[in-house]
């Protein structure tokens, strides 16, 4: 199973939805009843593998990662204790399945993906029909008249040229290096671990966030989850919506 997953070309996905559909299909689970914890874990491991191979992980993948984590945490809450007071400005989700929106998104995308496959087939079939180029027609004397005047301006032509150049510019492969992300999950894990270890008291979760940098925030969150999972740190929360604090676990060795 594990090796099978490694065999999949990591950059062959069209985006986070495509990757998710692949994971759901591979896990042979119902799209209407996605085991979020399992799929999220596999999704994260893909992202990490992509990063380990130094593939650019587009921000869309990271945004989806945080969506998955959000759904996962919502599903952990007992459904009886659903918040129905909107006092805190917290969005109510009542009896709704937190997966609903994502499932709808996946279904829509899957439909278009299926249609795209049909279109590809159509294109291949069309290639079996051939037509000749238009015939060259020599016109009789009656038609060899003076050309009539044309109602076009130089501006029209220049605008047309601009359009072509604009199109070319969009099509040309981009060579500019775009800085996608400064941190890898591993680096963040190291950073969080040392921050926590050298602190006498639990570190507020929010302190680990670089304000305003969504990518980095997602990475921080993923790193933290990984640390919790591996048992290096522990999270504490006084109550619902209270700040989360992170502390080192005494029973583990120092993570340098």
């Amino acid at each position: 199973m594990q090796t099978e997953r490694y065999n999949v070309k990591l950059d062959s996905f069209e985006g986070p939805l495509d990757l998710l559909l692949h994971l759901i299909k591979q896990a042979e689970v119902d799209i209407y009843d996605i085991p979020v914890a399992q799929i999220t874990e596999q999704y994260m491991s893909y992202i990490q593998k992509m990063q380990a191979l130094e593939l650019d992980v587009a921000s869309e993948y990271l945004v989806m990662a945080s969506t998955l984590l959000a759904i996962k945490s919502q599903m952990l809450l007992p459904s009886q204790e659903v918040w129905d007071d909107a006092e805190d400005g917290v969005e109510e989700w009542g009896e709704e399945d937190p997966r609903e929106e994502l499932v709808a998104q996946l279904q829509t995308y899957r439909r278009y993906k299926a249609v795209a496959a049909e279109l590809r087939e159509n294109q291949a079939n069309r290639a079996h029909f051939f037509s000749k180029p238009p015939s060259k027609i020599t016109l009789g004397i009656a038609y060899a008249e003076e050309p009539t005047s044309l109602d076009v301006s130089l501006a029209d032509m220049l605008q047309a040229y601009e359009n072509v150049k604009q199109r070319l510019r969009l099509e040309r492969p981009r060579t500019t290096t775009v800085e996608t992300q400064k941190w890898s999950v591993e680096e963040k894990m190291q950073m969080i671990t040392s921050r926590v270890w050298f602190s006498d008291q639990p570190v507020p979760f929010l302190e680990l966030y670089a304000p305003g940098k969504v990518d980095e925030q997602v990475i921080s969150f993923m790193a933290l989850l990984q640390l919790v999972k591996e048992g290096h740190v522990r999270c504490k929360q006084g109550g619902l919506f209270a700040d989360i604090y992170i502390e080192a676990r005494e029973d583990t060795t120092k993570h340098e």
Binding site: E14, R111, Y112, N122, A124, N125, F129, F130, L170, E171
Partner: protein, 187 residues
Amino acid sequence: MNEDIGRILETLLYVSGDEGLEAARAAEVLGIDRHRIIAELQALASRFEDEGRALTILQFDTRFQMATRDEFSTYVERYAHPPQQKTLSQAALETLAIVAYQQPVTRTTVEEIRGVNADHAMSTLVGKGLVAESGRVKGAGRAILYKTTARFLDVFNLRSLDDLPSLEEEEPAEQLDLFLSGYDKEN
């Protein structure tokens, strides 16, 4: 007379070749109503089928095109070595599918459905003449709207946009459908 209209249309179809014959243009040439021309061209196309003609007539919306039959494609390929058609990337194809069903549509909508940026895919499609701008959204952003072109129908062998495969939710057989989707393009 009726017989002659058919023969004239066949002549024009031959002359226009891969450019195809636009019904409106044929209507001008023959001095006959455009709808009548379309009916005559469709009648001619069925006659070609009934008589088992060597050639066939394809319809793309209001444009008709004389073409060889797929059963003889190997001979044509041997004779002419036609250039291989470049296939579209998966990204472009998915973008095209969304434009086809949702048109007119903005790039943002396409991006919401695919979950990824569609900048490059869209400009590829515009560059290949499969998709064209068709105005702008009213209001603040004035985002560009896109629609498919006449050429799109030709390249994907569709008589009209109504010919697009249905986009309905496939119920239990969906996994199988997806798997077999290449084969059941008939309806």
